[in-house]
C-alpha cells in the first residue's frame, strides 16, 4: 500500500525531487511514528466487546474487565486488540520496512542520490525518525551493541568476505596488513596521546581524564569502518587497487581494535600498564587475529565438506553457507577473537569449493540473500545511528570534540603518508600521491566505533557520554563531509576508475599463462618468490584438498575449463532469458563465426565438451524455456537463418544430445540412414556449437557436430560425406573426422557411468528406459521439439524404427 503510493508518486511527480522525498519520508515516518509509541507503551490486554469502547492508556480498565469477568457475562469478543503479544516482532518488522522504503525512495530520486551518498541520507532519516519519536514522548531506541554486533554486522561482513576479490587482495596483502596493523596502532596512540595532552592543559577542565581512558578512546576512534567504507566506495567506482586497499584495511584492523579495546578497558581501572602487559598485548593480538582466521578456516572447510553431499537436497544448500559462517562468527566472539576475521576467512576458504559443488540456483540464492541482508543491515545501521544521536545523552565539550575531529584527520594523513613511504620501498607497483590521498581520505569511521563506545561501562567510565558525543561527531564528519566530497574529488583528481569490462576467455587464458610463465622465470632466476609459493599452494590444493571437498569429477576440473563452462552457461542463460534475441557475446554485431576461423582443408571440428553435470543444467534451463523458441524454430526457413550463431539450433542440439546420451547397451542397431540431407544439413548447419560427450570410456557414442555458421552450404556437403563414414569403424579417440557417429559396440559400462554420475533431480532414472534411440530420427526430433515439458523424455521410449 505504501509502495503503491510511492510508485504513483514517482510516476506523477517526475522531477519534483524535494516534494517526493518529503512525502516519502513523512509517510514512512508517520507509519512508524504512530505505531511505535503505541507498541512501546505497555498496554494490558484490551478487549473490545460488541458494545464496548476502549482506551489503550488506561490501566484501570484492566481491573474493571477482570471484575466484570467474574460477575457478569461479557459479550463474546469478536474483535480484540492484542498488541503486546506481537509487539517485538512488529516493531522489528516496522523498522526493517522503514529502512527498505527509505532505500526505495532514495533510488527514485536520482538527482539527490547523485550528490549525496546514501549513508548521509539515511542518517538524516534516522535523525528525523528519532526526533519524531521524541516529540511523541517516547524514548527512541539506541543502537544496542548486542543487536549491532550479533545481528546487523555479520551479514555485511559475510557479503564482503564471500565476494572478496581474491587476486588483488592477496597481491596487496602486505600493504593492507601494514595499513591495518601499524596504521591503526599509530592512529590510536597519536589521537589518544594528543588528547591526553590537550586534556591536561589548563582551562579545559578535563584533568580527570587519565591517559588510559584517552588511549581507550583513541583506539575506539581510530579504526576505519568497513560498513561506511563499503557504503561510500560502492558508489564512486574507484579502481580495484584503491578499493581493495581501503576496504581490506577496514576489514583487517578489527583484530587490532579488539585487542587495544580490551587491553585498555581492562587496565583503565587499574591505572597502569606495565611492560608485561604490553607484551601480553602483542601476544594477544597474534592470538586474536590468527585464532580468528583459524576458526573461520575450520568452519569454511566444514561448510565445503558438507556441500559435497548436498546433491540430493539442493534446497537447503544456501542455508549451510549462512549457518556455518554465522557459527564461525559466534564461535570467534565467544573467545573474544576477531569475529570479522573469522567471517572473512570462512567465506574466502569455503567459496571455491562450495561454488563447485552447489547448483546454479543455490549460487544465485546465496548471492541475492547476502546482498539483500547486507543492504538492509547497512540501511538499518545508518538509520539507527541517526536515531541514537537524538536518543543519547550528550555531553558536548567544544575542545574535546573539535580536537578529536582534527586529530583523527591529522593522524590519518600522517599515518598514510608515512607508511606509504616505507611501503613503496617494497612494492613493485608504487602508490602515487593521488593514491595516498584517496586512501587517507577514504578512512571513514562508522557504527563500529559507536557500538564500541556504547559498550563502555558507565561506572568505570564516567566520561562515556562525552566520548559518545565525540564519536558521533567524528562519524558524522567523516560520513557527511568526506563521503559527500569524495566523489567530486575523485573526478577532479582523475583517479582511475573501475573498468567495467567483462572477463573474456582470452584474458583468462593469458592470465593463467602469465602465472605459469612468471613461476617458470622465477625458478630459472633461482629465487622462491611470490609466484613460486602461489604455484605450490595451487598444486597442493589441486592434489589433495579439492579431492576431499569437491564432489565427483568436478574436483579435477582445471580453472580454465571451469571458467569456460561458466561463461558458456551464462551465455546459454542469456540466450534463453531473452527468448533467443540475444546479441553475440562479444556485444559487437559481427558476422564472424567458427567457419571463418577453421581452415577449410582441415576436417577436424573440435568441440567443447562439458561434463554431464553441466550438460544437465544447461539442458534443464533450455528445456524449461523451449516454449519460447519453439515458435521461432518452426517458423524459420533454416537456409536463410540470420547470422546469430547462438540461436535456435542450440537447444535442439542439446535435446538431440540428451537422446543420444541415454543410449545404452541396448543399442545394437547401427544408426539408420539419416533424414533427408537437406534437413540434416539445415539442422546441423544452424548449430552454433554442440556439446559432445566426454569420452570417459571407450566406445561412448560421440557425436560431433559441425561448428558452422548458419549459411554454410559448402560445409554441409562435408557433413553428408561424413554421414557415409558413420557406419565405418570409429575414428581413433573420436577427435578427428568431424561428424563421426561412433557406435562400436554396446559398452556395458555406459549405462553405469551414465547412472552413477552425480546428477541433480534424479533425471537419470527417468532417462534410462529410453534406450535404443537414434537421435537422427527426424520425426522423433520434431516430436521432442514440439514437447518442451520436463516430462518430454518419458514419452520417448518407443523402440527405434529405422
Amino acid at each position: 500500500m505504501a509502495c503503491r503510493h510511492l510508485t504513483h508518486l514517482a510516476c506523477g511527480w517526475n522531477g519534483e525531487v524535494g516534494r517526493r522525498l518529503v512525502t516519502v519520508t513523512l509517510l514512512a515516518v508517520f507509519l512508524v511514528g504512530t505505531v511505535l509509541p503505541l507498541g512501546a507503551a505497555s498496554s494490558p490486554e484490551i478487549t473490545v466487546g460488541l458494545n464496548g469502547d476502549h482506551t489503550p492508556h488506561q490501566p484501570n480498565n484492566d481491573h474493571d474487565d477482570h471484575a466484570s469477568h467474574n460477575t457478569t457475562k461479557k459479550a463474546f469478543p469478536v474483535l480484540s486488540f492484542d498488541f503486546e503479544r506481537i509487539g517485538m516482532p512488529f516493531e522489528i518488522s516496522l523498522w526493517v520496512l522503514l529502512a527498505s522504503l527509505m532505500k526505495l525512495g532514495f533510488h527514485l530520486t536520482p538527482r539527490l542520490s547523485g550528490i549525496v551518498p546514501e549513508s548521509c541520507l539515511l542518517i538524516v532519516v534516522g535523525l528525523l525518525v528519532g526526533g519524531l519519536i521524541k516529540v511523541v514522548g517516547q524514548k527512541p531506541p539506541v543502537l544496542e551493541s548486542n543487536l549491532f554486533f550479533l545481528c546487523l554486522l555479520p551479514p555485511i561482513i559475510l557479503d564482503a568476505g564471500y565476494f572478496l576479490p581474491i587476486r588483488p587482495f592477496t597481491e596487496n596483502m602486505g600493504t593492507i596488513l601494514i595499513f591495518a596493523v601499524v596504521g591503526t596502532l599509530w592512529n590510536a596512540f597519536f589521537v589518544g596521546g594528543a588528547l591526553y595532552g590537550i586534556c591536561q592543559l589548563e582551562g579545559v577542565h578535563l584533568k580527570n581524564y587519565d591517559l588510559l581512558s584517552c588511549l581507550l578512546f583513541g583506539s575506539i576512534i581510530s579504526a576505519v569502518d568497513p560498513v561506511a567504507v563499503l557504503a561510500v566506495f560502492e558508489e564512486i567506482h574507484i579502481n580495484e587497487l584503491l578499493h581493495i586497499l581501503v576496504f581490506g584495511e577496514s576489514l583487517l584492523n578489527d583484530a587490532v581494535t579488539v585487542v587495544l579495546y580490551h587491553l585498555f578497558e581492562e587496565f583503565a581501572g587499574v591505572g597502569t600498564v606495565t611492560m608485561v602487559d604490553v607484551l601480553l598485548g602483542i601476544v594477544c593480538f597474534l592470538v586474536v587475529s590468527l585464532g580468528g582466521i583459524l576458526v573461520g578456516a575450520i568452519y569454511g572447510i566444514l561448510a565445503a565438506f558438507t556441500s559435497r553431499f548436498t546433491s540430493h537436497t539442493r534446497v537447503i544448500e544456501p542455508l549451510f553457507v549462512f549457518l556455518y559462517s554465522y557459527m564461525a562468527y559466534l564461535s570467534a566472539e565467544v573467545f573474544h577473537l576477531s569475529g570479522i576475521m573469522a567471517l572473512i576467512a570462512c567465506g574466502v576458504v569455503m567459496r571455491p569449493y562450495v561454488e563447485a559443488n552447489i547448483s546454479h540456483k543455490s549460487h544465485t540464492t546465496i548471492k541475492y540473500f547476502l546482498k539483500m541482508w547486507s543492504s538492509v543491515s547497512e540501511t538499518l545501521i545508518f538509520i539507527f545511528l541517526g536515531v541514537s544521536t537524538v536518543a543519547g545523552d550528550h555531553n558536548w565539550n567544544w575542545t574535546f570534540v573539535t580536537s578529536t575531529v582534527l586529530l583523527s584527520l591529522v593522524a590519518r594523513v600522517l599515518g598514510v603518508v608515512g607508511l606509504t613511504f616505507v611501503i613503496n620501498k617494497f612494492r613493485i607497483v608504487k602508490l602515487t600521491t593521488k593514491d595516498q590521498f584517496i586512501i587517507a581520505y577514504g578512512g571513514l569511521r562508522g557504527a563500529i566505533a559507536f557500538s564500541l563506545g556504547y559498550l563502555l561501562d558507565k561506572v568505570h567510565f564516567p566520561m562515556r557520554d562525552m566520548f559518545l558525543t565525540a564519536i558521533i561527531t567524528v562519524i558524522f564528519f567523516t560520513v557527511f563531509v568526506q563521503g559527500m566530497t569524495i566523489r567530486p574529488l575523485v573526478d577532479l583528481l582523475a583517479v582511475k576508475k573501475k573498468q567495467e569490462t567483462k572477463r573474456s576467455i582470452n584474458e583468462e587464458i593469458h592470465t593463467q599463462f602469465l602465472d605459469h610463465l612468471l613461476t617458470g622465470i622465477e625458478d630459472i632466476c633461482g629465487h622462491y618468490g611470490h609466484h613460486h609459493w602461489k604455484d605450490k599452494m595451487n598444486r597442493f590444493n589441486k592434489k589433495y584438498v579439492k579431492k576431499c571437498l569437491i564432489a565427483g569429477e568436478r574436483s579435477k576440473e582445471p580453472q580454465l575449463i571451469a571458467f569456460y563452462h561458466k561463461m558458456e552457461m551464462k551465455h546459454a542463460i542469456e540466450l534463453v532469458e531473452s527468448g533467443g534475441n540475444v546479441k553475440l557475446p562479444s556485444a559487437l554485431p559481427s558476422t564472424v563465426s567458427m567457419q571463418n576461423i577453421q581452415p577449410k582443408k582441415l576436417q577436424e571440428r573440435a568441440l567443447p565438451q562439458i561434463p554431464k553435470g553441466r550438460e544437465e543444467e544447461i539442458r534443464k534451463i533450455l528445456r524449461t524455456n523451449l516454449q519460447k523458441t519453439r515458435q521461432r524454430l518452426q517458423s524459420y526457413n533454416r537456409h536463410t537463418l540470420v547470422v546469430d550463431p547462438y540461436e535456435d539450433g542450440w537447444n535442439e542440439v542439446l535435446l538431440k544430445r540428451k537422446k543420444i546420451n541415454q543410449m545404452s547397451n541396448y543399442l545394437t542397431v547401427p544408426a539408420g540412414p539419416p533424414e533427408s540431407p537437406t534437413l540434416a544439413r539445415a539442422r546441423l548447419s544452424s548449430d552454433p556449437q554442440a556439446w559432445s560427450m566426454k569420452p570417459d570410456s571407450d566406445g561412448v557414442p560421440a557425436i560431433k557436430v559441425d561448428l558452422a555458421s548458419p549459411q554454410s552450404p559448402p560445409d554441409s556437403v562435408n557433413i553428408t560425406d561424413e554421414f557415409g563414414k558413420r557406419s565405418g569403424p570409429p575414428a581413433g579417440g573420436g577427435e578427428e573426422g568431424g561428424l563421426v557417429m561412433k557406435r562400436p559396440h554396446p559398452p556395458p559400462s555406459l549405462s553405469v557411468t551414465a547412472a552413477t554420475k552425480e546428477e541433480k533431480g534424479g533425471r537419470r532414472q527417468q532417462q534410462q528406459p529410453e534406450e535404443d534411440e537414434e537421435g537422427r530420427d527426424p520425426q522423433r526430433l520434431m516430436r521432442c521439439l514440439s514437447d518442451p515439458g520436463p516430462s518430454a523424455e518419458e514419452e520417448e521410449d518407443e523402440p527405434f524404427l529405422p
Partner: protein, 216 residues
C-alpha cells in the same frame, strides 16, 4: 663479491646495466645464477635449463625454455633459434620481466606494454610468420591444460576455438562467410589484451641479495 672480479667484468656489467636497466647487484646475482646453471661455462644450453627440478611441474616449460633461445627476443633483428646463449642474451630475456619504474609517462608505459606483449606473442607464434594461427593457439591451450589429463583435450580445442572466435569478432567485426581469418596479428593481440595491464603484472622481483645458495 665485486672485488673478486677483475675490472673488465665491472665494465661489462655497467654496459649491461645501461642496456637492460638492471642494477649492478642484480646483474651480479643473475650472473652467479647463470654460472650455476651452466656449470661455470660461458654458454647456456637448453639441457641446462631442462635440468632445473622446479621447472619440471610447469606445464609450459618447453615454451619458456624456447623463449630463452629465440633470437627474436634478443632485441636484434633476426629470427630462428640458437642452441646456446651467453650471459648477455640471458640478461636480455630476463629484462622483459622488469617492473615499470615509478615515474613513467603514459607513452613509456605504452611502449613497455608493447615490448612485453611482443615477448608473449613470440612465445605463441612458433613459426615466426607474424600471426598466431588457430593451430598455434590450440597448442598453447593444450599445453596449459596438459597437466590435467587426457580428458581435456577436446575441451582445450573448444576453448581455443572460442578464444579465436572472440579475437576475430573483436578485431574484424564483419566477415563474409567465405572469408578466412588467417590468425592473430600483433595488433589484434594488443587489442584483446588491453584489459590486463600487462606492464604491472608481467614482472618478477629481482633481488639485490644473492640467493643462489638457497635454491636449486
Amino acid at each position: 663479491m665485486g672485488g673478486f672480479h677483475s675490472v673488465p667484468q665491472d665494465h661489462r656489467y655497467r654496459d649491461f646495466a645501461d642496456k637492460t636497466g638492471f642494477s649492478l647487484e642484480q646483474i651480479g646475482n643473475l650472473h652467479n645464477r647463470f654460472k650455476q646453471l651452466s656449470h661455470n661455462e660461458d654458454t647456456l644450453r637448453k639441457d641446462d635449463l631442462n635440468k632445473i627440478p622446479d621447472l619440471a611441474c610447469n606445464p609450459i616449460r618447453a615454451q619458456i625454455i624456447e623463449a630463452f633461445f629465440d633470437k627474436r627476443n634478443f632485441q636484434s633483428h633476426g629470427g630462428g633459434t640458437v642452441e646456446e646463449i651467453g650471459f648477455e642474451e640471458f640478461l636480455t630475456v630476463m629484462s622483459y620481466f622488469r617492473p615499470p619504474s615509478l615515474n613513467m609517462t603514459e607513452e613509456q608505459r605504452e611502449e613497455l606494454r608493447r615490448v612485453k606483449l611482443r615477448f608473449l606473442f613470440n612465445m605463441h607464434d612458433t613459426d615466426n610468420d607474424g600471426t598466431i594461427t588457430l593451430e598455434e593457439y590450440r597448442h598453447v591451450v593444450e599445453e596449459l591444460l596438459s597437466r590435467s589429463g587426457a580428458l581435456c583435450r577436446e575441451t582445450a580445442k573448444g576453448i581455443a576455438d572460442a578464444a579465436m572466435l572472440e579475437v576475430a569478432s573483436i578485431s574484424m567485426g564483419h566477415m563474409e562467410p567465405d572469408e578466412f581469418y588467417e590468425g592473430i596479428t600483433f595488433e589484434h593481440f594488443l587489442t584483446i589484451l588491453k584489459g590486463i595491464e600487462i606492464e604491472s603484472r608481467m614482472h618478477i622481483r629481482f633481488l639485490n641479495v644473492d640467493t643462489t645458495v638457497l635454491c636449486k
